[in-house]
Symmetry: C2
């Protein structure tokens, strides 16, 4: 494996990753403007954070222009999975389905979403049957 992901992102770093996963890529200013909506921090704070993340290998960046453009260097899926696993382990007594039930319970999901989940459940069952 090439991408070093020994460094697990901190809370603040996760917020930035979340933004970049959604946007695809962006400058410090782009990220900062979104971050500002839910948080209260100065521009250089965001900058510093993203620089650290780059050092750690959490972000890639293009420095060919004066204003650098960043993007996530670790995949959203693997990060999600890592966080889920830890969460299931420490807070859900090791039971993934307990987590699923809890997640479905308080988040009113759309019919469309529910259908997608059902369909997925069927696929899983088919796989296990054979």
């Amino acid at each position: 494996m090439s991408t070093a992901k020994n460094n697990k992102p901190t809370e603040s770093e996760l917020e930035i990753l979340g933004i970049l996963w959604e946007k695809g890529s962006g400058t410090v200013r782009d990220v900062h403007e979104i971050l500002e909506k839910s948080k209260d921090a100065g521009y250089t704070t965001t900058l510093k954070l993203m620089q650290i993340m780059h050092e750690k290998g959490l972000l890639k960046r293009d420095t060919s222009n004066k204003t650098h453009v960043y993007e996530a260097a670790i995949s959203q899926e693997s990060t999600q999975q890592q966080l889920l696993n830890k969460m299931i382990d420490t807070v859900f007594n090791g039971s993934a389905s307990q987590l699923v039930l809890q997640a479905l319970g308080n988040h009113r999901s759309s019919q469309e979403e529910l259908d997608k989940i059902k369909q997925y459940l069927n696929e899983i069952e088919q796989q296990q049957k054979k």
Copy 2:
């Protein structure tokens, strides 16, 4: 609401809460011995942590005997929900079902668990239909 839960548990505190939720209650030694299996810390470290958690209102304790007995002061469910919400928000683009799919995907669930989830999905649909 009586129980002050302004203080969100830290990483280490969550581990302790997880143990106490599962055990119901326990002494510092009880908790420490379980913690030791997955972690490497001294006894007084665990003690101090649990004392801090008591101050914060995360744990209750019975001091009538020399060896104090602790238990969680915040509910597992509400803590789970809080963590899930934040996680959905920052890492799953706000989509609960995306989290559910990811959780089901890599965690091979038992048929029994899958049935429980399906049943639950049906209940949710019934509720929404009316």
